[in-house]
């Protein structure tokens, strides 16, 4: 907060000419200072007069009288201050000169020794009173500082106990008001775009706080009684605070601003934490409900499939009956897939809140997925390109598996029956790209984007194969949850390739293991 401090003039009154007002203020201050010195000086002069008279009557010599005056001036400087003491010392000098040096009753001095005595008296008295005033000033400043540190400590302690369920701004404002006995306080919270103020000059200070924030600076009002400073934590301004009161200095305002900034930030992080906790609970609830639902679906499906496949296995059915039993079996399996995919979709939706990231070797991922679809891929050749071997990605294994499974399932379902499927992976420009290629009729250009939408199925595919319309949207969601993307390239001649790109590959080669 070391930037320029701008002097804000004529804050209270909407003054027309700042320069004129300034001069007027300076005059007023000077007059007030002179008036302030008056009582001490008069008292000092009175005492000096009395002592001089007594000394004269008692026929004391110059050195005794000057010692007495010396004492008086030091006492005056101790009680009132330097200027009072200086005034008193000058009067004392006059009295000593007039009554105690030859010729008497004249300001002239005939003996040079008297000159030396008088000069020494005046210089010594000035030095001593100056020193004494300075020491006192230091003691007073120390006391003020101690009081201020105590107040700041109090503020920092009480900031810890602010009520988190209430808005933080008004609490900070009233806390500062309470501890520092300021006249008015205003706080501008830039993140919440909120102004809180208290005291008779609340309106002015609100304006000032806003100005300090937008100019990103420290503003000082006339007489050093009004301050506004920007609140920052780190580099970016978070808001501003404006204060006015008789006992404020820049050295008090800056720590108050820091504490207010910390209090705002603290409240904000508590709020964030609360939101994260709520999101986590929602996610947990959803997973629990979905798990229960999946279980509820799968139990009757298990009974149906057991019965239907059991009927087929027993081999006691007529041809028509076999066909019907096979239909039940087939459709039960379809329904099972639908339930599984809905569950996967929900899991990926939830994963946007929380991914369980780990290092996943790409080749292992591909091999696992191909192994899972062994039944479906029977009789077709599945080629995995060598390029996948050294690649690894950071991701949620379960979700990546679900995504790649959709590509493999899609390739198996919509390609020319019996045609080969190939899977390749490579790292390119910081992305790991997995590609699944199959032969077969191309996807119409109009459909290439839309097939990744939930429940969208291209016109032709609807009649060709049974699908749920969820598969590719799962792959897309999974990629997006990892900050990646999916797309398809499809041509009559070359076939269809689905791409799955994940950011930040960890091109690592496995340590080779010799048998």
């Amino acid at each position: 907060m070391d930037e320029k401090t701008e002097l804000v003039s004529g804050l209270a009154a909407g003054s027309n000419s700042p320069a004129k007002a300034n001069a007027w203020n300076r005059w007023r201050q000077a007059v007030r200072a002179c008036l302030g010195v008056l009582p001490g000086s008069l008292a000092g002069v009175a005492v000096v007069a009395v002592v001089t008279l007594c000394a004269f009557r008692l026929h004391l010599n110059l050195s005794t009288a000057s010692s007495l005056d010396f004492l008086i001036v030091v006492v005056v400087s101790a009680i009132w201050g330097f200027w009072e003491a200086t005034f008193t010392s000058l009067v004392a000098y006059g009295c000593l000169d007039y009554f105690f040096t030859l010729p008497l009753f004249s300001f002239a001095v005939s003996d040079p020794q008297d000159w030396v005595a008088l000069g020494t008296f005046e210089i010594a008295v000035l030095i001593v009173s100056r020193l004494s005033t300075r020491v006192q000033g230091q003691a007073r400043a120390e006391a003020r500082q101690r009081a201020q540190v105590e107040k700041l400590y109090q503020l920092s302690r009480r900031i810890l106990f602010l009520d988190r369920s209430q808005t933080i701004g008004p609490q900070i404002v009233s806390l500062v008001q309470d501890i520092f006995k300021t006249e008015s306080v205003a706080l501008f919270d830039a993140t919440a775009v909120r102004l809180d103020a208290t005291g008779p000059r609340a309106g002015d200070l609100e304006q000032l706080a806003r100005r300090a924030y937008f100019q990103d600076t420290v503003l000082e009002g006339p007489g050093g009684h009004t301050w506004a400073t920007v609140l920052r934590l780190g580099s970016s301004p978070e808001g501003a605070i404006a204060l006015s009161g008789p006992e404020l200095s820049r050295f008090a305002v800056e720590p108050i601003a820091s504490l207010a900034a910390i209090a705002l930030e603290r409240a904000r992080s508590f709020e964030k934490e609360g939101r994260a906790e709520a999101a986590r609970q929602t996610e947990q609830l959803r997973t629990t409900v979905l798990d229960a639902l999946a279980h509820a679906f799968k139990t009757p499906l298990t009974a149906i499939r057991t019965a239907s496949s059991g009927l087929l296995e027993a081999g006691r059915l007529t041809t028509d009956d076999t066909e019907l039993a096979a239909l039940i079996d087939d459709q039960a399996e379809h329904m099972n897939r639908l339930a599984t995919e809905l569950l996967q979709m929900a899991k990926i939706d939830a994963a946007e809140v929380r991914l369980r990231r780990e290092r996943v070797p790409v080749l292992t991922l591909i091999e696992d997925v191909v192994a899972r679809h062994r039944e479906q891929l029977r009789g077709r050749s599945v080629r995995v390109a060598d390029g996948a071997a050294p690649l690894e990605v950071q991701g949620d294994r379960e979700i990546l598996t679900a995504a790649l499974e959709q590509f493999i399932d899609n390739a198996a379902r919509y390609s020319t029956p019996g045609s080969p499927i190939s899977v390749a992976a490579e790292e390119n420009l910081g992305e790991v790209i997995i590609a699944v290629h199959n032969e077969g009729p191309p996807i119409r250009p109009a459909d290439r984007e839309r097939i990744f939408e939930r429940f969208y199925r291209a016109e032709e595919s609807r009649h060709r194969a049974s699908g749920t319309g969820l598969g590719l949207s799962i792959a897309k969601k999974a990629a997006e949850a990892h900050g990646g993307r999916t797309w398809v390239v499809s041509e009559e001649r070359t076939g269809t390739t689905f791409f799955f790109a994940l950011p930040g590959g960890l091109g690592r080669r496995y340590e080779s293991v010799a048998g």
């Binding site: 798990d291 999946a294 279980h295 799968k298 139990t299 009757p300 499906l301 298990t302 009974a303 149906i304 499939r305 057991t306 019965a307 496949s309 059991g310 087929l312 296995e313 027993a314 076999t322 066909e323 096979a326 079996d329 087939d330 039960a332 399996e333 099972n336 599984t340 070797p361 292992t364 091999e367 696992d368 997925v369 191909v370 192994a371 899972r372 062994r374 039944e375 891929l377 029977r378 050749s381 599945v382 080629r383 995995v384 294994r397 379960e398 598996t401 496995y510 340590e511 080779s512 293991v513 048998g515």
Partner: protein, 241 residues
């Protein structure tokens, strides 16, 4: 169907599943009893010599995993097949950790279920067989005494670790072997997390043994769980009508 294929105890809290399974398995020649919970299963088991228990993982009461542990403690030879509902690896691993021989995910095809039951039945009798007896599955022959492997009659050269790995898998043919168990059995008890080791060896074994290493017929992968050597009597699985 005239001769019993084995005695099976079905443990599932869902009546519909128990009924469907009982009728189907009886039709396939198994002797079937049923229990609605793990506690009931533990009461029924001492009453007759069972070969296999079908145990649902998700049941009220003691639950499938604990029931599996209890059963395994008392009947180490009994075949245990866990029925899991979610297709999640944690469940499968939990089941195998608890001592299950195998798992099958609901909903399943009964033909596959029957094949798994038969493999489990075989395992419970196989442990009484001489460990040095020759193992022959499909075209693969393994002679533990002479440490030789043949494929279709021709000698295949394997490194010692490859041989041990194949031997362990073939000795437990048809059942899933978890990565950790495989690593510890072949490499030693201090191993367990070196999955890439295992994958490299399996890849090499596939190159030497499989007709098409990309489409293995013998050395099968159980996603996220482990490996499984093909069943001793591979059932020809035809496509459905």
């Amino acid at each position: 169907m005239s001769q019993s294929q084995g005695r099976v105890l079905i443990v599932d809290d869902e009546v519909a599943i128990r009924r469907a399974l009982r009728n189907t398995l009886q039709g396939m020649g198994f002797l079937v009893e049923e229990a609605p919970s793990g506690e009931a299963a533990l009461r029924l088991l001492p009453e007759a010599p069972y070969d296999v228990v079908l145990l649902d993982i998700n049941m009220p009461g003691m639950g499938g995993v604990r029931a599996c542990q209890e059963i395994r403690r008392t009947w180490p030879q009994l075949g245990i097949l866990m029925l899991t509902v979610r297709d999640s690896e944690q469940d499968k691993v939990a089941a195998l950790d608890a001592g299950a021989d195998d798992y099958i995910t609901k909903p399943f095809n009964v033909r596959e279920l029957a094949a798994r039951i038969r493999a489990a039945v075989r395992r419970s009798s196989a442990s009484r067989v001489d460990p040095d007896a020759e193992i022959r599955i499909g075209a693969i022959e393994l002679d533990p005494a002479r440490r030789l492997v043949r494929k279709g009659g021709e000698l295949v050269h394997l490194t010692p670790k490859e041989f041990d790995l194949l031997h362990y898998l073939m000795a437990h043919a048809g059942l899933p072997i978890m990565h950790v168990r495989l690593l510890r059995a072949v490499w030693g008890p201090e191993y367990g997390g070196e999955l890439e080791y295992l994958r490299t060896f399996v890849r090499q074994l596939r190159k030497k043994l499989e007709t098409d290493p990309a489409e293995p017929a013998y050395l099968l992968t159980d996603s996220h769980v482990g490996y499984r050597f093909a069943d001793a009597k591979p059932e020809p699985v035809e496509e459905k009508a």
